[in-house]
């Protein structure tokens, strides 16, 4: 099949000028993190301020680079920044080098921009936590690792960041380690991510075996030389990696538990940036997926299933953060779906990724603000009528809400609409699923809004909701503004910007496209239905959750994600380990101990010969002498 769309081939130019300083973006937060962790208590008083300056500095550099790229010609927008040689053995020559191009710089801005806002927010949110300095050090570590991930010029360097964010995620989910649930969730996240990492490792070693290199440019150039089977396998391996990191079915179960972490962490890592790394990986690996329709289809299927499952989970959770987590899964499902469509969808995947980064971070921080005012309660059945009590939080949250359901002219309206249209063009069933997902999204988000901000007060006794301090409200406002304008601002521009880097079709999209296509109207209709249903159902919210129908009960149990994992993997493995431990002690070590025991057992038997009777010894001697004599005589005769 010849793809009519253009495929991007990376042809980096050498870095010059400011680009040579690109590594500073990573180094600054990394050094800050190490400094804060090593200095210890001495920096308690000012550590968080230093840590907040780090991503802001990186953001400044990123912005400067972005403008440099804007001013450069298209051919010079892919810049490679060599740093040093990492592994040079035999056929390998792995450099630590950065790749600054149209795609990575957008990520840099998202990570450092949203990251900076969340740092600022955390100053307020973590104010009373005695381990605040440590929290900020971990956040800086995360920023550094995430920047390595998106700026890497090869899969192996990407993997450093890939695991680095995993580590940061582990540390931050389990930040309140004294809570067993948090510690368990952190471990679960790391281990499930590691399952995905097997895919990453397998993909990389296949590339090494074939090309002796894992640089994006090199692999992209040679991807056509993969046999169809190899290309499919590599594609599936990469998909596995993406599933782990981006919490896609079947590796989705960790994300909901990850909400045990402090809310700014959920906003930064588990909504805006880290969980979207899988999308980045697939888009970056476009040249490989172009070779393999099978793997691409698998990506589409995974994305579609996850967008429905995530939305489904979101409909029935009472924990405000878990609703948002389900929503994140679902929205990333949209992105994965778009990325699976191929060059036609890459740009939309990234577009949605960016707008989602804004509005979801906004809503998570809003949820954090609510928790801050409600004594860390997350149960929406204890909320209600918060719109008046927390006006700024309500207003900013509303902007995020309108953006995610795709209200016209808000960010999600543009980015999601493109994906749904592309899905319909790709395959009717996938399109319908995407459309249904939009309806469910509208339903559960409206449910969240209604339960939280409207209706009667259902507050627990002694809870006095209050607006959060300015240091927390400021990021909310900025993100709310971005949720409103990001779509309008980028809709016409981003396609032209990204197509040279990720592939696709040169086309200029207008701001009113959604109103001229039937699918646009259809989407708006479905969304409206979702909103109306939610408003009518949740007019009054009982304090106790009703038992609910079968669908709701399944959703509350995360669609049996943990149950399936336990039944299929964990329990059999643990049973096997139990057998193995017994086998090791009983059989393997038992064989060793058995040899020892039988040796001493033989001694027990033989020592009976020591009867203590001199005459029996004498008899033995005589018998021996006779024997020796007989042998000698017989030997003479023979």
């Amino acid at each position: 099949m010849v793809n009519p769309l253009q495929t991007a081939i990376l042809e980096p130019v050498a870095a010059s000028g400011l680009f040579q300083m690109a590594w500073l973006m990573i180094a600054i937060p990394l050094v800050s993190a190490a400094f804060l962790l090593l200095v210890g208590k001495a920096s308690n008083a000012w550590g968080h301020l230093l840590a907040t300056l780090a991503p802001i500095a990186s953001f400044g550099i990123g912005l400067a680079l972005f403008f440099q790229l804007l001013g450069a010609s298209v051919a010079e927008r892919t810049v490679e920044v060599p740093v040093y040689e990492w592994i040079g053995v035999g056929p390998w020559d792995v450099q630590i080098a950065l790749l600054v191009d149209q795609l990575s710089i957008l990520f840099v801005l998202l990570i450092t921009g949203v990251g900076s806002l969340i740092h600022i927010y955390s100053i307020g949110y973590m104010e009373h936590d005695e381990r605040r300095r440590r929290f900020f050090a971990y956040l800086n570590l995360f920023i550094a690792a995430m920047l390595v991930l998106v700026l890497a010029n090869s899969y192996l360097v990407l993997f450093i960041g890939w695991e680095g964010v995993g580590l940061a995620s582990y540390l931050l989910i389990g930040f309140w380690q004294h809570r067993p649930a948090a510690a368990a969730a952190a471990k679960k996240a790391f281990v499930m991510n590691r399952v995905g990492d097997i895919g990453m490792a397998l993909a990389m070693i296949t590339m090494f075996a074939h090309f002796g290199s894992v640089e994006f440019a090199e692999v992209g150039k040679n991807a056509a030389q993969f046999s169809p089977l190899t290309a499919t396998l590599v594609g599936l391996f990469l998909l596995l990696a993406a599933c782990g990191k981006s919490a896609q079915v079947p590796l989705q179960a960790w994300l909901l538990d990850a909400m045990e972490g402090p809310t700014p962490v959920s906003a930064l890592i588990h909504a805006a940036t880290m969980v979207t790394a899988g999308v980045y990986l697939i888009v970056r690996s476009g040249p490989i997926f172009d070779q393999t329709p099978v793997a691409s289809t698998a990506v589409v299927v995974v994305g579609t299933v996850t967008l429905l499952v995530g939305a489904w989970i979101g409909t029935s959770k009472d924990d405000i953060k878990k609703v948002l987590a389900g929503s994140t899964m679902s929205q990333i499902g949209y992105m994965i779906l778009a990325a699976g469509i191929g060059p036609a969808g890459y740009v939309f995947a990234i577009f949605h990724l960016l707008t989602h980064g804004f509005f979801k971070a906004n809503m998570f921080l809003g949820a954090g603000s609510i928790m801050h005012g409600m004594d860390d309660d997350v149960n929406m059945r204890n909320f209600g009528a918060l719109g008046r009590a927390m006006r700024w939080t309500f207003l900013t949250f509303a902007m995020g809400y309108l953006a995610i359901i795709g209200f016209p002219f808000f960010a999600g309206f543009y980015s999601k609409d493109h994906i749904i249209v592309a899905a319909f063009e790709h395959n009717m069933i996938v399109g319908i699923c995407a459309l249904i997902g939009a309806g469910i999204t509208a339903y559960y988000m409206t449910r969240l809004m209604v339960m939280t901000f409207f209706g009667r007060k259902r507050w627990e006794h002694g809870v006095h909701p209050h607006e959060s301090p300015g240091v927390m409200v400021f990021p909310l406002v900025v993100l709310a503004i971005l949720s409103v304008v990001a779509g309008v601002a980028m809709n016409s521009w981003i396609n032209g910007w990204l197509v040279p880097a990720v592939g696709g079709e040169e086309h200029t999209y207008g701001l009113l496209d959604g109103f001229t296509e039937p699918i646009g109207w259809l989407t708006m209709g479905v969304v409206a239905i979702g909103v109306v249903i939610a408003v009518s159902v949740f007019k009054s919210v009982p304090k106790e959750a009703p038992r609910g129908n079968f669908l709701e009960r399944a959703a509350r149990r995360d669609v049996y994600g943990d149950d399936i994992n336990n039944a299929v993997v964990v329990n059999p493995l643990m049973a096997f380990i139990g057998l193995l431990t017994g086998f090791d002690r009983g059989k393997v070590d038992g064989a060793v101990e058995g040899i020892g025991a039988s040796t001493s057992g033989l001694g027990q038997v033989l020592r009976r010969l020591q009867s203590g009777y001199v005459r029996s010894y004498g008899l033995t001697m005589v018998a021996g002498a006779v024997l020796v004599g007989a042998v000698l005589i017989l030997g003479q005769l023979a």
Binding site: W86, G90, H210, V588
Partner: protein, 508 residues
């Protein structure tokens, strides 16, 4: 012949051990530490000279009738082993400052510990530098003596039994190796000129059958040492009953003689048989790797758990060695180096932990992180290094082993990636159970007020350099890889294998 620098390097700790025994009890351990640091400095000089291209080989006739020589040399692989030995030993001494019985009238005090560690260091160094089979064999056996006393003299209940088990396994392996050495001698004598020198023995003509028998003898001896499943059961017992400092040396240094011997002797002396046996060895190594990891997940004793992780890691190393690619073998050698430090940190951190609480059972801990954050942090970093987190040196080596073996055999390489998940599981499960969660009463009693019983300055100095090594070589592995690669290339050419060519077109 120039000054016998390598012999001097090996002799310094041995003489030093004598000096330590004759110093007053109070200054014994300080003297021991000083001597081990002196050895480290000398070793760094040696590595510097060797890297600069100086020929350090030395050879003196010893027993002409056997063709035995006192012969030492140091190529990249040997130097790597020497480095890990001298870099680990001083920090184990610092960490084990108060090991043994305080009222050490029976002689098992810190001074005896220092002396025994120095003796062990010396023997291990000679093992790594010997280029004469007989000299190697003698020191291979001799290492058992100090280690027997280190396990049996210091440590927990059941240490005598564990020491005897260790000794019997060691002697068994030594006996098998002796048979192999005698066989090698017999063949060289049969060829006219009896010799024990590696250089003469390598490439010596021998019958295919004989070569295979001798290979198996050498391999079993080294597999007992390394240890590989099913010969591994002495290691968890020794780790459980010995002091963690001893275990760090045992796993970090002594067991490396096994894997080092596989490269130096199995591969170089019996190239044909090595290739013949490689498929079986690879499968055994893969089993070791997975078996050790699973057993570690199921383990309830911290020290036994760490011992099992090492069984798993040794599986990786053997996979790397017998995959016969530059990448995997360089990776395996580098893995040996890194493993000493990651396991060293884990054992030492466990030591600090157990010393405070007085129990090795994972179930007896909980919430330590809250009371001793630095200790928990060190423990976690050691664990992360053990699970090969990118950015730490162990990742570079583990990935090289996996990728190198994959290019030779996709199944071995592919399946070995499972180790990544299993390693994450056993490390984080242990960390979760010991360090996180609510602070249990017993832990509170043992650790007291928050941070009041965290790592002391001495303990921090013992682990910080090891962690530094792990991080520095994680980001800048080039010096080590440049040191190892030429030696590996030489070995590969002796075995007569070359890297698989890149399969640009699909090979599946």
């Amino acid at each position: 012949m120039s000054f016998p620098l390598l012999t001097l390097l090996g002799a310094v700790p041995l003489v030093g051990a004598l000096v330590v025994m004759f110093t007053p009890r109070a200054t014994g351990r300080v003297t021991g530490l000083f001597i081990s640091l002196l050895t480290t400095a000398l070793a760094l000089v040696v590595v510097g000279l060797a890297a600069g291209g100086r020929d350090l080989s030395e050879q003196f006739t010893w027993i002409p009738a056997f063709g035995a020589h006192w012969a030492m040399n140091a190529d990249g692989i040997s130097l790597t082993m020497v480095l890990l030995t001298v870099l680990l030993t001083p920090f184990v001494l610092i960490a084990s400052w108060n090991v043994g019985h305080a009222d050490a009238e029976d002689g098992w005090g810190p001074r005896a510990f220092s002396a025994l560690v120095l003796v062990m260091e010396s023997f291990a160094l000679f093992c790594f530098m010997a280029t004469d089979v007989l000299v190697f064999y003698i020191f291979f056996e001799a290492t058992l003596i100090p280690m027997y006393f280190l396990i049996g003299g210091f440590g927990e209940a059941g240490r005598r039994r564990a020491a005897i088990k260790f000794l019997l396994f060691g002697l068994g392996g030594g006996l098998i190796l002796l048979a192999g050495v005698v066989g090698v001698y017999a063949i060289s004598a049969g060829n006219g000129q009896p010799t024990m020198l590696l250089a003469d023995l390598a490439g010596m003509p021998m019958g295919t059958g004989t070569e295979r028998v001798l290979f198996v003898l050498f391999f079993i001896a080294f597999a007992l040492k390394a240890p590989m499943v099913p010969f591994h059961t002495w290691l968890p017992d020794a780790a459980e009953s010995g002091t963690p400092g001893t275990s760090a040396l045992l796993v970090g240094v002594l067991d490396k003689i096994g894997t080092f011997g596989m490269i130096r002797f199995c591969l170089e002396l019996f190239p044909g048989a090595s290739q013949w046996a490689a498929p079986v060895v690879l499968i055994l190594a893969l089993i070791s790797m997975i078996y050790g990891a699973l057993a570690a997940i199921g383990e309830t004793d911290i020290l036994r758990l760490i011992a099992f992780t090492s069984v798993s890691h040794f599986g990786f190393i053997v996979i790397g060695i017998f995959s016969f690619t530059t990448i995997s073998m360089t990776g395996a050698t580098f893995y040996m180096f890194n493993h000493a430090f990651s396991t060293g940190v884990l054992f030492l951190a466990a030591h600090f932990l157990i010393q405070r609480r007085g129990s090795q059972k994972i179930a007896d801990y909980g919430g330590v992180q809250k009371l001793a954050p630095v200790l928990a942090g060190v423990f976690l970093l050691g664990g992360l290094s053990s699970l090969a987190l990118p950015g730490m040196s162990s990742f570079v080596s583990e990935f090289m082993v996996i990728a190198g073996s994959f290019s030779q055999n996709i199944w071995i390489g592919g399946i070995s990636t499972l180790g990544m998940v299993l390693a994450a599981t056993y490390i984080l499960l242990m960390y979760q159970r010991t360090m996180t969660g609510p602070v249990t009463e017993d832990v509170e009693e043992a650790f007291g007020e928050e941070r009041s019983n965290d790592l002391t300055g001495r303990e921090r100095w013992a682990v910080a350099p090891l962690l530094l090594i792990i991080f520095v070589f994680g980001f800048f592995p080039k010096p080590m890889l440049d040191l190892i690669e030429p030696a590996v290339t030489t070995t590969m050419s002796q075995v007569g294998v070359s890297d698989p060519s890149l399969t640009m077109e699909g090979s599946n």
